[in-house]
């Protein structure tokens, strides 16, 4: 009678409120409506972050930060370590998919208006997480220390330098000095493997806790419909029904990552040479392309002020608006609520066009 599983359960039960936890888990429901598929995106983002954490930890076993070792260590991983090519390529591909998924999750939450009261803080923590993911992408990109990453970082750190007053200190802080050197590498490495993961873990914990606390949001239209017709309301249990479906999605993602890594392994590039001139047409990774391309197109002087600085300040304003969106969504005294989906559409369209433009431009 006392099977091993049962004895373990009993042992735990004597110490922890297992039944209560089980009841709590059973209670969690996921609403079913025509937009329910979008609920997968958040979990997918979390899953990809987990993939990054795992592959990142594995890469840590062999990667060496430092201008004279970084490139060689990545080369070592790609060529000598068993399946090193797989771990590294998955890490690089998953990074891109993660950023894409984070944006998709953001826009789905925005259009489905899930940021409404009482979920404002969930939204805020989410936006902060997005900034963190972009920070991960930026810091991680330099670590292989090849020509592309060196110059992309050079250009990328010069942009915040345009901000008045704090710009230069920010540049010195990011670069660990005037120029991109081994110090920059060490610094960004510290961010990438320690500081950003620590902050991200806290924020993800907060984000998930808030989601548990408030439950899944239902879009306003559906909510109204269910209030008038309660019999239409549909829900499924999170455990095991939704989880199993989410597992399917995660498996698809795994398959996709494996295929990308095997068919399109991430290139090693050429070791960075600070004294060589920047290769023509250098551009950052796709998720920074829209910003980059916008800055390229802004005229040097706009309304009597430095064009690039204006551009960066605009980005700052957009970031602040994004962060504070739940508080800007009102009906009284001004009906800003009407404008949000439209503006978001315009913004999304602009980002897409600019990204594509930046991609094809020379």
């Amino acid at each position: 009678m006392a099977s091993p599983a049962n004895s373990i359960r009993q042992w735990l039960d004597e110490r922890f409120p297992l039944d209560d936890l089980k009841a709590l888990a059973q209670k969690k429901k996921v609403p079913l409506h025509r937009y329910s598929y979008w609920y997968f995106l958040g979990g997918m983002t979390l899953f990809l972050f987990g993939v990054q954490a795992l592959t990142g930890a594995l890469l840590l076993m062999y990667y060496r930060p430092g201008a004279d070792e970084a490139f060689e260590s990545v080369q070592f991983i790609m060529t000598q370590v068993q399946f090193g090519w797989l771990v590294r390529s998955v890490h690089s591909w998953s990074a891109n998919l993660l950023v894409f998924m984070a944006f998709a999750h953001l826009f789905s939450v925005l259009f489905l208006r899930s940021y409404r009261k009482p979920r404002e803080l969930t939204w805020v923590s989410g936006i902060l997480l997005l900034f963190l993911m972009l920070g991960f992408g930026f810091s991680g990109y330099l670590l292989p220390w090849n020509t592309l990453s060196y110059f992309a970082t050079k250009v990328g750190t010069e942009i915040p330098a345009q901000i008045p007053i704090i710009g230069r200190p920010v540049l010195l802080f990011l670069r660990g000095g005037e120029d991109i050197t081994g110090s920059t590498l060490t610094r960004l490495y510290g961010f990438h493997v320690a500081i950003l993961p620590a902050v991200a873990t806290l924020l993800i914990g907060l984000h998930l806790a808030l989601i548990q606390w408030f439950g899944m949001s239902v879009p306003p239209g559906i909510e109204a419909e269910w209030q008038t017709r309660p019999e239409r309301k549909r829900e499924i249990r999170f455990f095991p029904n939704f989880v199993l479906r989410e597992l399917m999605a995660w498996y698809v993602a795994l398959g996709l990552l494996g295929a990308l890594a095997a068919l399109f392994p991430w290139s090693l590039g050429v070791k960075a040479d600070p004294f060589a001139s920047a290769p023509a047409g250098i551009k950052p990774e796709w998720y920074f392309l829209a910003m980059f391309q916008t800055l390229k197109l802004i005229p040097a002087k706009l309304l009597g002020m430095d064009g690039e600085m204006l551009g960066i300040l605009t980005f700052g304003v957009i970031g602040a608006v994004a962060l504070l969106l739940p508080f800007l969504d009102q009906e009284k005294p001004f009906n800003t609520r009407r404008w949000i989906p439209g503006l978001a559409c315009v913004f999304l369209g602009y980002m897409t066009v600019m990204t594509v433009y930046g991609w094809v431009a020379k």
Partner: protein, 422 residues
């Protein structure tokens, strides 16, 4: 009495000061080396005109020599009558025939030249007299080259100056002013296609295009002051100054004695003298571009060896190309093959060596070099194949994991269906 003595000493002092001033100004004049000739001649039209700027480029001017150094006269006098007086030794326009001896009056004088540049040779005139130009000059040929024809005259620069007419990169052009002029060279009965041929050569390419100053130009093989075309027997000696191994191997080959007997000019026989094009593997053998068939008949001992050597070279070249292509493909597909690529460089070295060994004209000797190269290409090719195998392995691995994932997806789908069909 004291007042008189005071006056005397005062005068003496003043006289000393005045003398000092005169000496100083005289010295200043000497240091600037007044060249009054340019005062007028810099404003005159051709052919009397020489601008101050032109003359300032002249190495002689920079060393402090005035026009009078060659033309005679008094360069310090402002009055043309005094400056260009026969009494002062003024020669006017120098007769062409007199130029070599005029230049030699300084340049063959070791004591004089030591003051300016102890490292300069002083035997140019002596050499000139042994050259074809010099010998014709001695017989009063007025068309033949004298010093100024090559070195320039008023803007004469040091040969190390890239703008000098006798800087290595410019020599061929300077020689071609006469030697490529068919009309001018008519009385001499020699060809005028040398420059045109040289322009096609690999030496010209090295010198002018790649800027390799060690590449040969006209004077490298013909000499500069003692210019003479190398005799048939001497050609190999000239080429061997740089192409040491080829010459040494040639000396051990059968061709050495045969060419000598037949009066063939060594290296030039196959490679030409001026239009020395980049040699190819096609030059050896019995093919359409081969030079061997100029003498050999297909089927004779020599032609057979030539064919064998051609095959050895092309086999190695093909093996290198195949291995490079495979490694390139592997690299493009994301495989790391830098070690193999490094090894491939050794195979290329072997081919380079083989193309030199060819000059022994013995296929048994050539085989040693090509075999060494082929051993390397076998290894690099194997490395390339290993990389492709690994690539295939990755695809198979991917396929297997995709299958496993597909099973999970199907299984999950069915499981969910079962779960919810209650």
């Amino acid at each position: 009495m004291n007042r008189v003595r005071g006056l005397v000493t005062w005068r003496r002092r003043a006289g000393l000061v005045l003398a000092a001033l005169l000496v100083c100004s005289g010295l200043m004049v000497f240091a600037q080396t007044k060249n009054s000739c340019l005062d007028c001649h810099s404003n005159l039209p051709e052919p009397l005109g020489v601008s101050a700027e032109t003359y300032s480029q002249n190495i002689h001017a920079q060393k402090g020599l005035t026009c009078a150094a060659c033309h005679g006269g008094d360069a310090s006098a402002d009055d043309p009558e005094k400056a260009m007086s026969r009494a002062a030794g003024w020669k006017g326009k120098i007769n062409r025939k007199q130029i070599p001896e005029l230049c030699a009056s300084c340049h063959a004088d070791a004591e004089r030249m030591k003051k300016y540049n102890p490292g300069l040779r002083v035997d140019q005139f002596q050499q000139y007299k042994t050259s074809v130009h010099g010998m014709k000059w001695a017989k009063d040929d007025g068309k033949v080259a004298v010093c100024t024809d090559c070195h320039g005259v008023h803007d004469l620069r040091a040969p190390s100056d890239p703008r000098s007419t006798v800087h290595p990169t410019n020599i061929a052009t300077t020689c071609s002013h006469c030697h490529a002029d068919a009309e001018y060279m008519k009385p001499y009965g020699i060809k005028t296609d040398q420059f045109a041929n040289y322009e096609q050569s690999v030496h010209h390419d090295a010198m002018v295009v790649r800027g390799d100053l060690s590449a040969p130009t006209c004077t490298t093989c013909h000499g500069n002051h003692g210019a003479t075309p190398p005799g048939v027997a001497n050609v190999t000696a000239v080429c061997s100054n740089c192409h040491v191994f080829q010459a040494q191997l040639f000396e051990t080959s059968q061709h050495k004695d045969v060419f000598a007997t037949m009066g063939l000019p060594g290296c030039v026989t196959c490679h030409s003298n001026h239009a020395i094009k980049h040699p190819t593997d096609e030059m050896i053998g019995t093919g359409p571009k081969a030079v061997c068939t100029n003498c050999h008949i297909v089927g004779d001992a020599g032609a057979t060896q030539a064919e064998a050597m051609h095959n050895q070279l092309t086999e190695l070249a093909a093996a290198i190309a195949a291995s490079d292509e495979l490694l390139g493909r592997a690299e493009r597909q994301g495989m790391e093959v830098s070690q193999a690529k490094l090894q491939a460089a050794q195979a290329r070295d072997a081919l380079l060596k083989a193309r030199v060994t060819v000059h022994a004209f013995r296929d048994s000797e050539l085989k040693r070099d090509t075999d060494a190269g082929l051993a390397v290409t076998r290894q690099t090719h194997a490395a390339g194949e290993k990389a492709m195998e690994e690539w295939k392995f990755r695809r198979v691995g991917l396929g297997l994991s995709v299958v496993a994932i597909a099973i999970v997806l199907v299984g999950l789908g069915l499981y969910i269906r079962n779960l919810e069909q209650k």
